[in-house]
């Protein structure tokens, strides 16, 4: 009885295996075909090459798109994180009417259909008379990044013993000094984690970028454009693989930092000693 509970046998493990295969098999094809010598992605593989990767830096349009993505990603993650810090601090620190409702509204873009958000933002931007550019893409990305940055930062601020800030004031430090010497170092891992998560989301976001960008393509839009030409496919696969690896690394670092922040803030105080 007990062993059966610990090691789910039979159909359940088959199901679990198929589940994981279904999730990750398509993703595995990407790096495999990106080092295949044939220009069309099909089995059997014809040979190993790094040629498609070597071609990447020789494509000016791709470099432009990468540069655009970098600008958008950095700006959006910085903005979303700053706004997230303020919101997370307010949600975790103060008690006021409507606190839960506000929290819910901030988190809502997480579940709104992205295409609806994109169209609505496009309408608003046009009404405001803004011309479409990387700036409008940044605004769109900030909107969808804030729920993520809020989640990461809230877990950084939560459990942060309020008496730490009081102790700092008690020892003569000003409000700003307390923020600089206690609050910021305590939540620094969460802040970095939030920056990384937001950057990753912005980096591979397609729908909003597609609607809100003018003539400047970001990486996902560049990739989408390349799909029309069969001969460009191996390059797209190589680029996709690189994006995949970058996202994976960034998210892993972000998660490690988030956990470290949570541990640091919660391991505090005699009660946990």
């Amino acid at each position: 009885m007990r062993a059966r509970r610990l090691v789910p046998g039979g159909w359940l493990s088959v199901y679990a295996f198929l589940y994981v295969v279904f999730l990750y098999l398509p993703v595995i094809f990407l790096p495999i075909f990106s080092v295949n010598t044939a220009a069309t992605p099909k089995f059997p593989l014809t040979g190993f090459t790094l040629q498609w990767y070597e071609d990447l830096p020789r494509t000016p349009a791709l470099l432009d798109a990468a540069w655009n993505s970098l600008i958008v990603g950095v700006s959006a993650s910085l903005l979303a994180t700053v706004l997230g810090i303020l919101a997370a601090r307010s949600i975790t620190r103060y008690r006021y009417p409507g606190r839960r409702a506000i929290n819910g509204l901030i988190m809502a873009p997480l579940v709104l259909p992205e295409v609806i958000v994109a169209i609505s933002m496009l309408l608003v931007m046009l009404q405001l008379g803004l011309s479409l550019s990387l700036f409008t893409v940044v605004l769109g990305h900030v909107l969808i990044c804030i729920p993520y940055s809020m989640t990461v930062l809230t877990s950084g601020f939560e459990g942060f013993d309020r008496s730490l800030e009081e102790a700092s004031a008690d020892l003569g430090e000003s409000a700003f000094g307390t923020f600089r010497r206690v609050t910021l170092p305590m939540v620094a891992p969460a802040i970095i984690s939030s920056l990384l998560v937001c950057f990753t989301i912005s980096l591979d976001e397609f729908i909003i970028a597609f609607f809100l960008t003018g003539t400047d393509a970001t990486l996902p839009i560049y990739i989408w454009g390349q799909l029309r030409f069969a001969s460009k496919l191996p390059g797209v696969l190589a680029l996709g693989t690189l994006l995949l690896i970058a996202s994976f690394l960034l998210m892993t670092i972000a998660e490690i930092l988030r956990r470290r922040a949570a541990r640091r803030t919660q391991n505090e105080g005699g009660l946990y000693a």
Binding site: D161, S163, L164, E166, A167, S168, A169, D170, L171, G172, E173, S174, G177, R181, V182, P185, M186, R264, T265, N267, E268, G269, G270, L271, A273
Partner: protein, 377 residues
């Protein structure tokens, strides 16, 4: 009083300055209709070890936080060292606090924690380092300066919190339930150490606690609080032996309550008749308000002594043991006395065999009439 040979008896260990350090005048703190603190007035003297004692929600922590500057009175005033504290934020008050959770900065090591408040003072020529070393020595943490908070035990964290506050040389050190997170043995050891430390540095200590033994063991004076009001302010001995009312008496340990009829009331004393203890003359409590002809007397369980065999005493009551509870060094006997509504509790040390008295045995108890105290309600 004539000079007596032998042990000199004194209620307090030393002379204190009579200079007030903290003056709390008519302080009320309301949250809507709820009054966390209701018209409290209190003077704490310079160099005193003062405890605010009461159950949770009695307003003791609220009062401490208002002295520290983390909360403000709705009405009334607080002065520290003769200086009114109104409008002065926590970071500019001459007080430092030891928090219940210790609030050790987890991203700093022990030395950096202790030096935290000194950094702003920008001390010259190694003065900061010297003061940190001195503070760590005061709390026996020399050599642990480079440790991180996560590498310390609960007792050590507490010492860091103490050192971090003492290094600022405050006029008043505030302690918010500092021992509640420690286990019993360590707690008792820290009680002794805290008392010793306070006498060494001579700073006014204000301790908040819900543990009556802690307050009795460490304080020069205690304020007992209930429901936002201060019920009694006195020395530990006075509080324990002469509680002003039933609530205070109950909070500070076991108490046998005895109904009495007032025979005579004059000046500072009362003469009462009781069923079990006969006619007694007792001191009249300050807040005594005569409520018909009745009065409430109380006697602590350890002030009743078992009379063995043929031993007699000037004052004794007779009864029968109905329950016996063994506690190691003492035994707790419940004794029924004819005429008394409730049986008496008696604690007796076990050196004469109180732990072997069978339930049902007739027994005589000796008492000192002075140990029977009248209470305001």
């Amino acid at each position: 009083m004539p000079e007596q040979p032998g042990i000199e008896r004194s209620d307090t260990d030393r002379m204190q300055s009579e200079k007030p350090m903290i003056e709390i005048r008519d302080v009320t703190r309301s949250y809507g209709a709820f009054k966390a603190l209701d018209d409290a007035s209190l003077t704490i003297k310079e160099g005193e070890f003062f405890s605010l004692l009461g159950p949770s929600g009695c307003g003791k922590t609220t009062l401490l936080r208002m002295i520290a500057g983390f909360d403000n009175p709705t009405s009334g005033s607080i002065a520290v060292g003769g200086q009114p504290m109104e409008g002065i934020p926590a970071n500019r008050r001459p007080t430092n606090m030891v928090f219940q959770s210790y609030a050790i900065f987890p991203h700093l090591n022990v030395e950096q924690n202790v030096a935290y408040g000194l950094k702003r003072l920008k001390l010259q020529g190694g003065e900061e380092k010297r003061r940190v070393e001195e503070a760590l020595a005061q709390v026996s943490l020399t050599g642990l300066g480079k440790r991180l908070a996560t590498e310390l035990s609960g007792g050590q964290r507490q010492r860091v919190a103490l050192a971090r506050a003492l290094v600022m040389r405050p006029k008043v050190l505030l302690l918010d339930e500092p021992l509640s997170a420690l286990d019993k043995k360590l707690r008792e050891q820290m009680q002794v150490e805290l008392r010793r430390l306070q006498q060494a540095v001579g700073i006014t200590f204000v301790l908040v606690t819900h543990d009556q033994y802690e307050a009795l063991a460490m304080s020069d004076r205690i304020a007992v609080m209930f429901g936002g009001r201060i019920a009694q302010v006195a020395s530990p001995k006075e509080i324990y032996q002469r509680p002003v009312n039933r609530q205070v008496a109950d909070f500070l340990g076991g108490m046998n309550f005895v109904q009495a009829e007032i025979v005579e009331e004059n000046g500072a004393s009362l003469i009462v008749d009781t069923l079990g203890f006969g006619r007694i003359k007792t001191d009249k409590p300050k807040a005594f308000v005569r409520n018909g002809g009745g009065a409430m007397l109380g006697i602590r369980p350890e002030r009743l002594r078992v009379l063995w065999d043929d031993a007699t005493a000037k004052f004794e009551v007779a009864g029968k043991v109905v329950e016996r509870h063994y506690f190691g060094e003492i035994t707790h006997l419940i004794v029924e006395i004819p005429g008394l509504e409730k049986p008496l509790s008696v604690t007796e040390t076990n050196d004469f065999g109180a732990d072997d008295i069978p339930v049902g045995t007739p027994i005589r108890l000796a008492y000192d009439p002075e140990a029977l105290v009248a209470m305001a309600d």
